[in-house]
C-alpha cells in the first residue's frame, strides 16, 4: 500500500473532501481524479502522441510507396463524375435521338444475350482483350433497355428501365439509384415491355408483360434536366473478373471485357420528338475499374426491330483495389499502428494501478467501483479521440496529395464522408482504448490484455487482407470481430448493382459503416460490463 513511491498520481481532489462532504464522491470528482492520473504519467501522454504520429507517418509512407506505373510516366485518367459528386463508370452503346420536352418511349424487348471471356482461356491481360475467346453468357449486371439522358456527356443525369443478366427488370437512375422490378430475363416466349415517361424533371419507369397492363417500377427526379434530352435504346456489360488468392502476396484478378446484346421491337414514341432518325454512338471508354479496352458495340435496324450491342457499365465506379484508383481511406492505414499504441496505454491505464497498489487507494477514496471504471473509460476515450482526430485531419490531405502526385487516381468523396472518416477514425481509437482498458481491468495483466485486443482487431484484418481464408471467411471475420468498427473508414459505398468483388484489401467491408462501428462498441460495452462485475466482486 505504498502508493507514494513511484506514483505521481495521487488525486489532488481527495484532501479537500473533508471540508466538503457533500461532493466528495460526486462523479465529477472521480472524473477529475482519473484525468489527473492520466495526464501526470508522462509515458501515457507520450503513448497517445505516438499513436497520432504513427497514424500520420504510416499513412504518408504507404502513400509514398504506392506509385502507379503506366509506362514511363504517371497515369492520367478521365473519370466522369456523376450528379451526386461520385466517380462513375458511364460507357455503353446508345441508339438515341433528341426529345425536346415531355414525352415517352415504349419498347418491347424479346431477347438479352451476351458474350463472356472463356473460362479456360487463361488470364486476359489488361489491354489485350481477346475477343476471339469469347463464349456465350451474361454477367449478372449485363443490361440493356431504354434510357433518357441529359446529354451524351459521360456522367450526365439519366433514368433507365432495363433488363439485366440475373437481376430481373430494374429502374436505375443517376448511377446510384436502383429500384427492382419483376424478375426474369426477356425471351421470345416471355417478352418484356418497357416504358419511360418524362414530365419536366420527373421520369417514371414502367414494365408490362403484354403491352396493355402496366406496372410502375418507380420514379426519379433528375434536378435541372434540360428541356432537350437524348433518349433511346442502350446496351452495356461490365468486365468479367475472377480473383485468385496468392496468399501473402495478395491476389490477382483475371478476366476480360464482355458484351451484351438486346433485341427490341414495337418501338413507340409519344410527345415532343423532333423529326430525324436514330443515331448510334459509343459512349465513354475504359476507366480505373475497367482496364479493358471498350469493345465498342453497334446496332442494327431491320424493319421495326433493333439489335443493340454494347460493353461497359453505367454505375458508380469502385474497383476495390483492382485498378489504380485509390480511395481516401488508404490515407488512414496508419490507424492500425496508432491503435496498438492506444491499446497499450488503455490497458496500462488500469493495470498500472494494480501493479503499484494504487487501486486500493482509488477504491478507498471512491468506493462506488462502477463509477471509477466509467470515469476511466471517459478519460481514456477522450484522450484517444483527440489523438485520432488530429491524426486523421493531418493524414487525409497529406497522404491524398502524395498519392495523387504519384499518379494515382483518388476517388472523389463528399464533405460529409470526409467528416465521417475523420470522426470515425477518432471514434474507433477511442472505443478500442475503452476495450483495452476494460479487458485490462478484467484480466489485471496488461500483456495479456494488450495481446487479446490486438488479436481480435489487428489479426482478423491481417487475415482478411492477405487472403488466408476464402472471401466468405474473411467477410465473417470482418462482421463479427471488433475490427468491424473500421468499416466506418470505408469511403466509397458498396452498391449492390456493381458486381465488383468486395475485397477487404481493396478497402471494402461487408457491413455498412455505422453497423460495423456498433459491433466494435458492443465488444467494448460487453468487456466494460464484465469488468464492472468483476471489479465489484473481487478484492482489489
Amino acid at each position: 500500500m505504498t502508493a507514494g513511491t513511484a506514483t505521481p498520481n495521487r488525486p489532488e481532489t481527495r484532501p479537500g473532501h473533508g471540508s466538503e462532504p457533500a461532493g466528495r464522491d460526486s462523479f465529477g470528482h472521480v472524473l477529475w481524479a482519473e484525468w489527473t492520473k492520466f495526464r501526470t504519467v508522462r509515458g501515457w501522454v507520450i503513448g497517445m502522441v505516438v499513436a497520432g504520429l504513427l497514424t500520420v507517418l504510416v499513412g504518408y509512407l504507404s502513400a509514398a510507396g504506392s506509385q502507379t506505373g503506366c509506362g514511363a510516366g504517371p497515369c492520367h485518367f478521365y473519370v466522369p463524375v456523376g450528379p451526386g459528386g461520385e466517380a462513375v463508370t458511364d460507357s455503353f452503346y446508345f441508339v438515341h435521338r433528341p426529345l425536346a420536352g415531355n414525352g415517352s418511349i415504349t419498347v418491347r424487348m424479346t431477347s438479352l444475350t451476351g458474350k463472356l471471356p472463356s473460362a479456360s482461356g487463361g488470364r486476359v491481360q489488361a489491354g489485350h482483350g481477346a475477343q476471339s475467346s469469347l463464349h456465350p453468357g451474361l454477367e449478372p449486371w449485363s443490361k440493356a433497355g431504354i434510357i433518357i439522358k441529359a446529354s451524351t456527356r459521360q456522367g450526365s443525369a439519366y433514368a433507365a428501365v432495363l433488363a439485366s443478366g440475373d437481376n430481373g427488370v430494374r429502374m436505375q437512375y443517376d448511377y446510384t439509384g436502383d429500384i427492382a422490378g419483376p424478375p426474369g430475363r426477356p425471351s421470345a416466349a416471355s417478352p418484356r415491355w418497357l416504358r419511360l415517361t418524362r414530365s419536366g424533371d420527373t421520369i417514371a419507369g414502367y414494365e408490362s408483360a403484354d403491352g396493355t397492363h402496366w406496372i410502375r417500377i418507380g420514379t426519379a427526379t433528375l434536378a435541372g434536366l434540360p428541356a432537350t434530352v437524348q433518349a433511346g435504346l442502350f446496351a452495356t456489360s461490365p468486365a468479367h473478373s475472377v480473383t485468385t488468392s496468392k496468399g501473402l502476396a495478395g491476389s490477382s484478378a483475371t478476366g476480360g471485357p464482355t458484351l451484351a446484346t438486346g433485341v427490341f421491337d414495337h418501338l413507340g414514341l409519344r410527345g415532343a420528338w423532333p423529326a430525324g432518325g436514330w443515331r448510334g454512338d459509343v459512349i465513354g471508354g475504359g476507366g480505373p475499374s475497367n482496364p479493358y479496352p471498350v469493345q465498342g458495340g453497334g446496332y442494327h435496324q431491320s424493319g421495326g426491330a433493333f439489335t443493340v450491342t454494347g460493353s461497359g457499365d453505367i454505375a458508380p465506379d469502385m474497383d476495390w483495389g483492382a485498378g489504380p484508383g485509390r480511395s481516401i481511406q488508404f490515407a488512414l492505414v496508419g490507424t492500425f499502428f496508432g491503435l496498438i499504441a492506444v491499446v497499450v496505454v488503455g490497458a496500462m491505464y488500469i493495470t498500472a494501478e494494480y501493479r503499484r497498489g494504487l487501486i486500493r487507494t482509488t477504491l478507498a477514496a471512491s468506493p462506488r467501483r462502477g463509477r471509477i471504471l466509467a470515469a476511466k473509460a471517459i478519460v481514456i476515450a477522450a484522450a484517444a479521440f483527440v489523438a485520432g482526430l488530429v491524426a486523421a485531419i493531418v493524414a487525409i490531405p497529406l497522404a491524398t496529395r502524395i498519392s495523387r502526385d504519384n499518379g494515382n487516381y483518388i476517388y472523389p468523396v463528399n464533405a460529409l464522408t470526409e467528416v465521417r472518416l475523420v470522426a470515425g477514425t477518432a471514434a474507433v481509437l477511442a472505443v478500442a482504448a475503452v476495450l483495452a482498458m476494460a479487458v485490462g481491468a478484467a484480466l489485471r495483466r496488461s500483456a495479456i490484455a494488450v495481446t487479446f485486443v490486438i488479436v481480435v482487431i489487428v489479426l482478423p484484418y491481417l487475415i482478411a487482407v492477405t487472403n488466408l481464408l476464402p472471401l466468405s471467411g474473411d467477410q465473417w471475420l470482418l462482421r463479427l470481430a471488433p475490427v468491424a468498427g473500421f468499416s466506418i473508414q470505408q469511403a466509397i459505398p458498396n452498391y449492390p448493382q456493381v458486381s465488383n468483388v468486395c475485397s477487404p484489401a481493396g478497402g471494402c467491408y461487408p457491413l455498412p459503416p455505422w453497423a460495423g462501428f456498433v459491433v466494435l462498441c458492443a465488444w467494448a460495452a460487453a468487456a466494460l460490463a464484465l469488468a464492472v462485475v468483476l471489479l465489484r466482486r473481487r478484492d482489489a
Partner: protein, 280 residues
C-alpha cells in the same frame, strides 16, 4: 553509476574462488522461476489450443474445387501459427517483464551478477519450453489439416496427396514452423529486455509482426510490396511454411527464416547490451 550496478560487482569480488553461480545454477534458477509461476504453463497450453483451433478452422474454410486451384495444403494447415505466435510472444515477454514489474530483477541480478548469462539462461529456458509446445501445436495443426482437407477437394484427383512428414517440403514446413515459434519467442525476449514494461513490449512485438504485412497488402507498388514482404519478420519467416509455388515467394523458405533469425539476433543483442549498460 548507481548502487544497483555496483552491488553485484562487489559481491563477486568477495568470493573470487566460487566465481558466482555457474551456468547450471542460473539455468536451474530460471527454470524454477518459470515453472513455479502458474501463468506460463497455462499460456503455453493456450498457445497449443489456439494454434490447432485456428488451423482447423482455416482447413475447414478452404476449398479446392478443381485441379490446379493453386492452394498450398501445408500452409493452410499451419495457419494457426499466426495466432499461436502471439501467445508464445506473451510467454517470452513475461519472463523478462514480469521480473521488472515485481522488482524481482534486482534479486536476480544480485544473485547472478553476470547479466548476459542471465539473459542467456532465460533464452535457453524459453526455447526449451516453446520447442516442445510448438511441436505439439504444429503437429496437431498438421493432423487437423490431414483429417479435414481431403473432404474439401484436396484429393489425389486434384493433385494433392495426404499431408505426410515423409514428404520433404511438408517436413520442412513443419520443422520450420516450430523453429519459427522459437525464434518469435527469442525475438520477444530481446524486445522485452529492451523495453522492460510488458504492455509496450508486447505491443511492439505484435506491431512488428502483424503490421508489416498489412501495409504490404495495401501498398500498390509491387517492388515496395516485395521488399516489405522480404524484410518483415513474420512474412519472411513464414515463407518456411510454403510447399508449393516456391518461385512466387519473395524469399526462399530457409532464407526467409534467416531474415527472422537476423531480427531475433538483433533484438537479443540490443537487449543484452542495454541489460549490461543500464541500471536494473
Amino acid at each position: 553509476m548507481s548502487q544497483a550496478l555496483q552491488a553485484p560487482r562487489v559481491g563477486t569480488r568477495q568470493e573470487p574462488a566460487a566465481a558466482g553461480p555457474g551456468l547450471r545454477d542460473v539455468l536451474h534458477a530460471e527454470w524454477t522461476k518459470l515453472r513455479s509461476a502458474p501463468g506460463a504453463l497455462w499460456l503455453l497450453l493456450a498457445a497449443i489450443g489456439l494454434t490447432v483451433a485456428l488451423s482447423a478452422a482455416a482447413a475447414a474454410a478452404a476449398r479446392c474445387p478443381a485441379a490446379g486451384c493453386g492452394q498450398d495444403p501445408a500452409r493452410i494447415s499451419l495457419t494457426g501459427v499466426y495466432l499461436g505466435q502471439a501467445v508464445v510472444a506473451v510467454v517470452a515477454v513475461l519472463v523478462v517483464s514480469g521480473e521488472y514489474s515485481t522488482g524481482m530483477i534486482r534479486t536476480t541480478l544480485a544473485a547472478m551478477p553476470r547479466r548476459l548469462t542471465v539473459l542467456g539462461a532465460k533464452a535457453v529456458v524459453v526455447t526449451g519450453l516453446v520447442l516442445p509446445a510448438g511441436t505439439i501445436a504444429v503437429l496437431g495443426s498438421l493432423l487437423a489439416g490431414r483429417l479435414i482437407l481431403p473432404g474439401h477437394g484436396f484429393t489425389a484427383v486434384h493433385g494433392f496427396g495426404a499431408l505426410s512428414l515423409g514428404d520433404g517440403p511438408v517436413l520442412r514446413a513443419t520443422v520450420g514452423s516450430v523453429l519459427y515459434l522459437a525464434l518469435i519467442a527469442l525475438l520477444s525476449l530481446g524486445i522485452a529486455t529492451v523495453v522492460r514494461d510488458s504492455a509496450p513490449a508486447i505491443g511492439l512485438v505484435l506491431g512488428l509482426l502483424y503490421l508489416f504485412p498489412i501495409v504490404a497488402a495495401l501498398v500498390t507498388d509491387k517492388n515496395v510490396q516485395r521488399h516489405l514482404l522480404q524484410a518483415a519478420p513474420m512474412t519472411a519467416g513464414l515463407d518456411i511454411q510454403a510447399t508449393t509455388g516456391l518461385h512466387n515467394l519473395p524469399l526462399s523458405p530457409w532464407a526467409g527464416l534467416g531474415v527472422l533469425a537476423a531480427w531475433t539476433a538483433g533484438a537479443l543483442l540490443a537487449g543484452g547490451l542495454l541489460l549490461r549498460l543500464r541500471d536494473a
